[in-house]
Amino acid sequence: MRTRRRFVVVLRLLGRGVSHRRGIAALILLVAVIASASAAVAPVYRSSAAVSALRSRMVTASPDETGVEVSGAAWPGDSPDVTLGKEVPRLPLSSAAIPGLAVGGPTTQLESHDGPVEFAALVWRQNDCRHVVFTAGQCPSGPHDIALPADAAQDLKVALGGSVVASNLARPLFPPTLTITNHVAVGKQLNPNATQAFQLNDKVVGIFEVPPSQSTYWFGADPGAAVVSPDGTQVTTVTALVPRTTLTGLPLPYRATVTIDQPLDWSNATPAQAKQVLRDVNSLRASLPSNLLAFTSIPSLLREDSADRVRLNRLVTLAQLQLLLLVGLVLIAVLASSMERRRPELVIATLQGRHPRSTALSIAAEPVLLLALGIVPGLLVSIPLAKLASHLWLRPGSPVHLTAGSLFGALLVTAIAAVVTVGIGYVAASRKLSDQLTEDARSAGGRSGAWIDLIAITLAAAGLIELFSTKSNSSSSSTPWSLLAPSLCGLAAGIGLGRLVPASLRPLLRSTAESAKLGRFLAIRELRRDRAAWRVSAMVALALSLLTFAVTINRGASADRVDRAGLIVGASRVAIVQLPPGDSLMQEVDKADPKGQWAMAGVLLDTLGSDAQRTLAVDTTRLAAVAGWTRPIDGLNPTGIKHLLHVKPAVARLAVPLLTAGDVGGSTFGLNNQPLTRSKVTQTSLLPQLLNAGALADLSSMIAVAKPVSPADLGTTQLFNQVWLGPRAPPDALTRLKAAGLTVVAVTSRAQVAQGLERLAETAGLSGYLAVAVIAAILAIALLIGTSAAGASRLRTETLALTSAGVSRSTVVRGRAEAAAVRLGLVGIVAFASGIVTAHLSVALIPEASPGAVPAPKLPLPLGPGLIAVIITVVPALIAEVAIASYAAKRTDAASLRAAMP
């Protein structure tokens, strides 16, 4: 009963205390909310960014990379059912994949009585067509059933119930006697003796549509993609569904490809689903018989994604730690200020002989309760913040939700804040009674403040030394912890200012005291006296340094992304085109752009199962005018090229002689520093080296030396015609290409690719860093304005005293405005310098700034954006501070002063 009564009394006192100190209580609650939100937002953002990065990476990757293809060959004596047909159904892809079987590839043809020949891939789908949208009929089930895509049925002029004949090719796809004029056809030889005659008469039992979402990757390859034959023929491969029993009709030996249809929609995939797919793929690989090989880039893509995520987490965590450092400093300042309001409780406790520990615990109850109350709102606030960041920087539709990490972070920060509160209370309770009665937190914090200053400066110096020592031998594999330096350096610079400026102003104080410049004297006096303002300004310096750093690094990384997009695409836009049989691509391009100012012919190599498509050769005479690299490449000098191709310096070294091949008279051009006579360069010797080197070749040279390719050699390699469109391409460039006789199949733009790069993990990490820096800057400026407003009553009293002594109010306000301008101006300058210096020192240590570059390059970092960021934060803060000083000076009558008294 007694305890309960005591509890009620304590509760009533707590309620009245909070009500009495509602200003500081509201401030503590606000900071608690911000602290919880700061701790929670990063895990939420990290989680969202991880999903966004995964989806972007997988969607951006080619269909060959994100699918699974199992290939093998069957030989006389082998049972196809054993090697392929039997194996496929038991492949342990569980629910993540549905097996399918493609047989023959482009070596199979379909014919009807009335229609032309269609090149086809036969896909086993016996009674299992869950991912097929039938417009008529059904999934094939009988031994001579077949289902056709709608466009193939139209071309073959067959309807449901009609019949087609599937056979191996009646003729070689590419005649060996063909003279190559403007294309190169290559391939790898799997089974040169594979083709034997076979023929199946099938009844059409189903007609289906290829869903748009699966159109680019349905059975491991684009089923509607045109394959360019050396004679210019557009070979279109269609996919026809056949029952499993069809396999038994195929003669041996034959070459077959089992393709696993991957139903997972990567644009909506989650990390958990990705892990499941990875497990499935690994399990599949382990279980395959020796004559089957699985091709997929899913493991490597997910490995890269995992590495990206580690970097993303580290980068965002680094930024978050710096934000929490600021929040912690703000929290300490607010809690120390709140202790000033607890003087009666401290004095009473001392007079009653209570132990400081007990006093600290009881006195901390109120702020700790407020801190705890801030957890839930903080968590709730973190959601819209993360949503905003997600909206700005992440892939649309990226999920934003609270995670266990965010809850843990908020709880941890609150717990640490609670311990700090008790610590501050203990220090206050341990002071002598006379100190408790007379000293305020600012004067009492002298010694501990000096220690904090010393620690901050030491850490900043250590960070800078670390940056200096590691920038020369940087490894782009990880982001070093020394990247905490931006905020530490900003803080240290702010602290240094707060100590040096007041000390250095002593002579000026004397001289202005004796002069008529009263406003200047007041300003200098204010700068020397107001240590609290300097301390808050140090926090502003921390935030602004972080902001400058983040803005500068992001701007540099953004420019690098544009560069990389240019390197990936090659020009402002690159179009995949088809041309009439017998025509020359270079001639067609010349027709569209006779002056050679904006269009350039090229050939794209697409090897199924390899990592990516890449341009193999271009018309080098037009490269300088058309290539979309952001910096001039006049003369194609090696240094310039090396710089442009910094992503792969080794590539640049090799690319130069190739690119200049046309300029050396055609006698020789080098590769690997080995001069080769053009006549000796054959397709078989040149192509692998080009592929390994990742270099571009001169198209006309390639055409001149290329050999015809036998159909069996084509395999999974395809070539596509490209037209590069340069920056000076007219708006109707595509129309002009069409007028020249080219059919534009697809267009890729640099802007589109750059946008895709923005959604990758590295960019998400840098954006997260920027988001955190923006939050820190807003918090610091709000703190500055808040403390100015809180100090308004002091300003009023001082103004009253000064005006009583004959000083005009305008002089008082001018003095304060000058002091604020000097203080904030200096803070802005040192923070900007700190941010820029740390950015320049550390940019090579941030792999996210220029992904893929080894070693990371020293990016050109612009000063402007960082400077603008500092100005747009400092100027409003200065205006607010002057406005508060002006307002306080106007309200110095006795009545308003009395009303302001606590």
Partner: protein
């Protein structure tokens, strides 16, 4: 004192009278005996050491009341803080109820938690500004604050926030709060310095009454001789020493540990510092006379 009484409301008894009237109900046994043995205390002021107390010998019997008088800087507050255990003497020994508390660094806190209560000069500094007198008393452990509020004349403002009370009411509330713990030694620093005479009288009366009822030993620091007159003993301090003691209206010089005597102001006029004096022992006592050069043999 007469003038002060004249300021009090008509028909109101004088402080001494009230004290006499209400001082009857004494609780025996709560008060503690305080003994100071040659206490000297120094503190650091910049680069210099200042002697705040010098060889103070003092005995305060349990349940007695003492007023400490003296000019600013004479050592009253230092002595008070030593008695409250807020500081430890540089030399000498301090006994509370025969227990030597000088050497124990934790004794001060323990004493304040159990035996000693200190009322500050400005009581508002030790009052929760947002708590009402009733709530403050409940917080101090008074489970039935009604009678206490009545006896300390605070019933009318029982539920008003402390910060809105007058200085006298705050002083009485502070007293009520410390008395709720029935301290053995009540130390009060300048209880009337900011009060008008009528408030002063009420506070002093209440103070004496409360101390008597609790049986507490009472030590009060004051500048006001009128207030000092209400105490059984007055100790006049000067330059860190207890120079004189007043008992029942008689001023007694106190012989220091080194045999020195602090002269009263009037005696000092006759025998200013630096002058010689003759000391004669007579049948009636000791005769101190200024020494003149022409008296030399």
């Amino acid at each position: 004192m007469t003038e002060d009484r004249g300021d009090a409301s008509d028909g109101e008894a004088s402080m001494s009278e009230v004290y006499e009237m209400e001082g009857g109900a004494v609780t025996e046994g709560r008060g503690v005996t305080v003994v100071c043995e040659r206490i000297t205390h120094l503190y650091q002021a910049g680069d210099e050491q200042v002697v705040a107390l010098r060889d103070v010998d003092l005995t305060i019997p349990a349940g007695s009341s003492i007023a400490l008088l003296g000019p600013s800087g004479c050592g009253k507050s230092t002595l008070m803080s030593l008695l409250a255990g807020l500081q430890r003497p540089s030399t000498g020994r301090l006994f509370i109820n025969d227990e030597d508390v000088t050497g124990d660094p934790l004794a001060g806190r323990r004493l304040r938690a159990t035996t000693v209560a200190l009322l500050l000069q400005e009581p508002a500094r030790a009052l929760l500004p947002y708590a009402s007198p009733r709530l403050a008393l409940e917080n101090a452990g008074d489970r039935n604050p009604g009678p206490t509020l009545e006896s300390f004349a605070l019933s009318e403002v029982a539920d008003r926030p402390t910060r809105l009370l007058s200085a006298g009411q705050q002083q009485r509330l502070a007293l009520a709060i410390v008395m709720a713990r029935t301290p053995g030694l009540l130390l009060v620093d300048e209880p009337t310095s900011r009060l008008d005479p009528s408030e002063r009288d009420v506070v002093i009366t209440t103070l004496h009454t409360a101390a008597r009822r609790a049986g507490s030993t009472l030590v009060v620091v004051t500048h006001d001789p009128a207030v000092a007159d209400t105490f059984e003993r007055t100790l006049s301090m000067r330059d860190g020493r207890v120079g004189a003691e007043g008992r029942d209206g008689t001023q007694l010089a106190v012989v220091g540990a080194d045999g020195s005597i602090a002269l009263s102001g009037e005696a000092l006029e006759m025998l200013p510092p630096g002058r010689f004096a003759t000391v004669e022992i007579t049948a009636e006592g000791i005769l101190l006379r200024p020494y003149h050069e022409d008296e030399s043999p």
